[in-house]
């Protein structure tokens, strides 16, 4: 029964004392124990810490205190540094690393009383779209194709966080989105995932992948739940120079605004060749839902969309190649003993980084090299500015954009692993918003013919998460998405 709780429902039940945080937490730990062998959504589960936090929350609630997340069991992507709990970024090179500090986002959640169940799996250093590049083994999507037992990927990089929420192992979770790492796994796992505006959540204490793109955000089973969690995660942080100092509005209230009178843009460039017909159909259905709910539908153009992916795969690896230089075996994490400094670097980094991370370090080093910088990195930055202009121009005419989240439903484990470019194409609809820094949400809107969930994406103006939530909630209401992954219906039965 507890598995059917939403975050807001559980919050209300806790406040009404219909259930205790300990009961809620124990139920989730039991689900984790049951499903983890099949799904491998977690790298580290912290039952003792969770129960201690639950008891503290129960005591606080008993005193009539307790913050907005008091007693609510959630999961944390293993990219957020958590004090005293190992933080691996799904990489061998950080396997032994236990941070002596707490990331700002998770500290905000602890301030608000959250219970942390553990650290979820991800693509190594958040580099991937399938959670298969994790050094500790892939996460399996709780969904399966109708009549098939093929193991599917949960999307990525925040696949563990998405799978955990979809499978009822946590009420909600945190992710990070660099080119779609929250929105795409949300779509693959049939849940809600929100990437806020760049600068809305602090990056302090989040292991960096690509600093100008990385942005923490929430996963939840409803739009309102995502809004509640973001309200806790967000806020100005003087320790992050790119964090923006503006008040955090009541996102949950924004979910109830409706879309009457809003102008919703449909970017024509997203009608890409090769997009499956059922995704096209779902998109059209979404347009109809919003029109029926009182929104005005407007065709818009984002002419530089087609350069988004190529640009992203220059900028992100360039920053990553520099960000990952600190993993050198000198001060923390893995060290492979060697005879001199160069060998120490080479052997530690060869043993510590997986193939995808090495590939991106190589690409990034190449595009920043003397003689190639202008042709790659500098040009990519110029195109990035044009992509941003596409969005600002469009947002002069419309209040939000509606697109599909991903060009496909969840695919099979190993299906795209041989060809990195095929894998990169997964991000085609999510990357432009990342490049522009605008907020976006993926809302589950329907199932494909195999019974797999598909998401629709809503994008908004910088720092206008409220409109994004409002449109997302309208889609959610119209879609009435109630399907659940098979594994979840079996669990707890």
């Amino acid at each position: 029964m507890t598995l059917e709780f939403t975050l807001s429902g559980a919050r209300d039940a806790l406040r009404a004392r219909r259930i205790s945080s300990r009961e809620l937490t124990e139920a989730h730990l039991a689900t984790i124990a049951e499903l983890e062998p099949e799904l491998h959504a977690f790298i580290t589960v912290t039952p003792e810490q969770a129960l201690a936090q639950a008891d503290a929350a129960d005591a606080a609630i008993g005193r009539g205190e307790g913050g907005p997340l008091a007693g609510l069991p959630v999961a944390i992507k293993d990219l957020f540094c958590t004090k005293g709990v190992k933080t691996t970024a799904a990489s061998r090179i950080l396997e032994p690393f236990v941070p002596p500090y707490e990331s700002t986002v998770t500290a905000n959640m602890l301030r608000d009383g959250a219970v942390f169940l553990g650290k979820t799996n991800l693509d190594e250093f958040a580099m991937g779209s399938s959670t298969t590049t994790s050094a500790f083994g892939p996460t399996i999507n709780p969904w399966q194709r109708r009549g098939s037992n093929t193991q599917l990927v949960p999307g990525g990089s925040s696949g563990g966080s998405a799978a955990a929420v979809a499978a009822g192992m946590a009420l909600a979770s945190t992710g990070t989105d660099t080119g779609g790492s929250i929105r795409q796994p949300a779509s693959f796992c049939g849940i809600v995932g929100m990437k806020p505006t760049y600068g809305r959540c602090s990056r302090w204490g989040v292991v960096a992948f690509a600093s100008s793109l990385d942005q923490p955000g929430p996963f939840a089973r409803t739009v309102e739940d995502a809004a509640i969690l973001l309200g806790s995660m967000a806020g100005h942080d003087p320790k992050d120079s790119t964090s923006v100092n503006r008040p955090v509005p009541d996102y949950a209230a924004a979910c109830r605004r409706g879309v009457k009178g809003l102008r919703i843009g449909i970017p024509r460039e997203y009608r890409a060749d090769g997009t499956p017909a059922e995704i096209e159909a779902l998109w059209n259905q979404g347009i109809a839902w919003l029109r029926d709910a009182g929104a005005e539908i407007v065709d818009v153009s984002l002419p530089h969309t087609k350069y988004g992916l190529a640009t992203y795969y220059i900028v992100a690896p360039a920053e990553a190649s520099s960000n990952l230089a600190r993993y050198d075996g000198v001060r923390f994490g893995l060290r492979v003993p060697a005879n001199d400094l160069t060998d120490l670097y080479e052997e530690t980094r060869a043993a510590g980084f997986g193939a995808e991370v090495r590939r991106r370090i190589l690409i990034g080093t190449y595009v920043l090299s003397a003689g190639y910088y202008d042709a790659y990195y500098l040009k990519a930055q110029k195109v990035r500015a044009l992509i941003l202009r596409d969005f600002t121009d469009a947002f002069e005419r419309v209040d939000a954009l509606l697109t599909p989240t991903a060009p496909s439903a969840a695919f099979g484990l190993g299906e795209k692993s041989d060809d990195p470019v095929q894998m990169y194409l997964n991000d085609v609809f999510t990357v432009p918003a990342s490049m522009a820094g605008v907020p976006g949400i993926s809302v589950p809107a329907g199932l494909d013919t195999d019974g797999l969930p598909l998401g629709l994406q809503v994008l908004g103006r910088h720092f206008d998460e409220e409109t994004v939530f409002a449109v997302g909630a309208a889609l959610e209401a119209a879609a009435g998405f109630s399907a659940r992954p098979g594994i979840r219906m079996e669990a707890g039965r």
Binding site: P100, Y101, S241, R326, D328, V330, R331, F332, L368
Partner: protein, 483 residues
């Protein structure tokens, strides 16, 4: 222009010199972390997680370091760039925790400026400053602590440096030395760098090439991390001679980075151009462009102290000092302040003469400086007052000064205790004169016979008879009368 050349076998060679100075910013905290920037602490005791580049740590600019860079730029009469940017300079080394140094490559905070140097003979020569930018220092590697391991001290990692790059405007080792000293003086006046080269808070990279007069520049070499003005001057000459030999032997100087070995008085290769790092500079995505307001720059400008050039000009006009004396007095702010305390309400020229003469000589003898002088400005002034009101004469004053240096006592007390007051009693003077004339009848006869020069002899004898305390004017007068 300067006349300085290196005479080779095939004729004279001119030097071309440019300097890159790394000056540690005076500030409590490091450039991007709250950790202390103090020198000399226990190894690795002043290291934050940001300095050690732990996962997820982010840099936040220290506003005081920015203010110090702007002040320095203003002190160099330079353009202040209201928008500048931090880049990452990527390379691997064990004492560079992040694997990159945050620096300002493409858009420095300070643009073109100028430093005027004074050469022997008083000629003034402007040396162009290309730019000044802010960057992080690295940590320190220690390779001599263990037979097989290197030790790393990260106390210095992340400390703010200003890199000040000159134009290749210098032509002699002396000009390079004068440039460094002047830059150091300006920064010490501003309080932006303590200029202590021994502790490494100011270091110079020296670019040297040679050419025939009138030629364009030839290939240069960079001598890294020279840590004293004297070594900079020596390194330039050694390197220039090496290059002249290569050119004259028909060879070609290769662009490379070299080190100066003061023990051998020569430079040696550190790494060639082929081994040069590709630093893969790109804008640091963790930091926004650094934007400052003109009003803030104006506020900093208004708060600047009087700088050495202005002070020198004022000393010349206000106190009537010659350029050389004024130049020496303004070299250090503390000396200038001391001088002004002495000169206030007194004769500025006499004050300067005494400071530059007996006072400095005394300090030198004792191995002391202005800061730990046994004689305060007030007491030195007191001595000058006794001289001015004729309580003592000049010769006695020198003696009193020496006693003051030894005891630290007031001049008046020394004069009283030792009975050094000048004798102005004409009766006593006349008596001494009579006594000297009576004791030297032969000299008296010679003088009367026209040997005027003997007048000095009589003055000396009278003063001697009076223990040096006679008022010189009155002694002269009495002698003239009696002779």
């Amino acid at each position: 222009m300067s006349g300085y050349v290196i005479e080779g076998a095939t004729g004279p060679w001119e030097l071309v010199i440019g300097l890159e100075v790394h000056a540690q910013v005076v500030s409590k905290a490091k450039l991007f972390s709250g950790a202390s920037a103090e020198y000399g602490a226990e190894p690795n005791s002043q290291v934050s997680f940001v300095d050690a580049a732990f996962p997820g740590m982010l840099p936040v600019i220290n506003g005081e370091c920015v203010a110090q860079a702007v002040r320095t730029g203003l002190g160099l009469n330079a353009e202040i760039n209201l928008v500048s940017r931090f880049d990452r300079k990527n390379y691997f080394y064990a004492d560079l925790p992040a694997g990159y140094q945050i620096s300002q490559f493409a858009h420095p905070i300070v643009g073109k400026g100028v430093i005027e140097i004074e050469l022997e003979g008083g000629a003034i020569r402007p040396i162009g400053v290309t730019r000044l930018h802010l960057e992080q220092d690295a940590g320190k590697s220690m390779h001599d602590q263990h037979p097989a391991l290197s030790f790393i001290d990260l106390n210095r990692a992340g400390v703010a440096l200003m890199e000040i790059v000159s134009e290749p405007d210098m032509r002699t080792p002396e000009e390079a030395g004068a440039y460094l000293r002047k830059l150091r003086t300006i920064m010490r006046y501003l309080g932006t760098c303590d200029g202590n080269m021994e502790e490494g808070s100011m270091r110079a990279d020296v670019n040297v090439s040679v050419r025939r007069a009138g030629e364009p520049f030839r290939t240069r070499c960079e001598i890294k991390n020279v840590n004293s003005v004297r070594f900079v001057m020596q390194a330039i000459e050694a390197e220039a001679r090496r290059q002249v030999e290569i050119w004259e032997a028909g060879g070609e100087v290769q662009q490379e980075t070299r080190l100066y070995d003061p023990g051998r008085g020569e430079t040696r290769s550190m790494r060639s151009k082929e081994d040069a790092h590709d630093y893969r500079y790109f804008p640091d995505p963790d930091l926004l462009p650094l934007v400052i307001e003109q009003a803030w720059v104006d506020e900093l400008a208004a708060g600047l102290p009087e700088l050495p050039d202005a002070k020198k000009a004022r000393f010349m006009s206000q106190y009537g000092l010659p350029a050389y004396d004024a130049g020496v007095l303004v070299m250090e702010q503390a000396t200038a302040d001391f001088y002004e305390a002495v000169a206030r309400g007194r004769d500025g020229k006499i004050a300067a003469n005494w400071m530059l003469g007996d006072f400095f000589a005394g300090l030198n003898r004792m191995g002391r400086g202005i800061a730990d002088s046994p004689v305060s400005a007030e007491r030195l002034g007191g001595l000058l007052d006794l001289l001015a009101d004729a309580t003592i004469n000049g010769r006695i004053a020198k003696e009193v000064m020496e006693a003051m240096m030894e005891t630290g006592e007031e001049a008046a007390a020394i004069v009283e205790a030792r009975g050094l007051r000048q004798v102005t009693d004409t009766g006593a003077i006349d008596g001494a004169v009579d006594q000297v004339l009576a004791a030297n009848p032969d000299k008296l006869a010679e003088y009367k016979g026209g040997k005027d020069k003997l007048f000095g002899f009589f003055v000396g004898q009278v003063m001697k008879a009076m223990g040096g305390k006679g008022n010189p004017a009155l002694v002269n007068e009495a002698l003239k009368r009696k002779l």
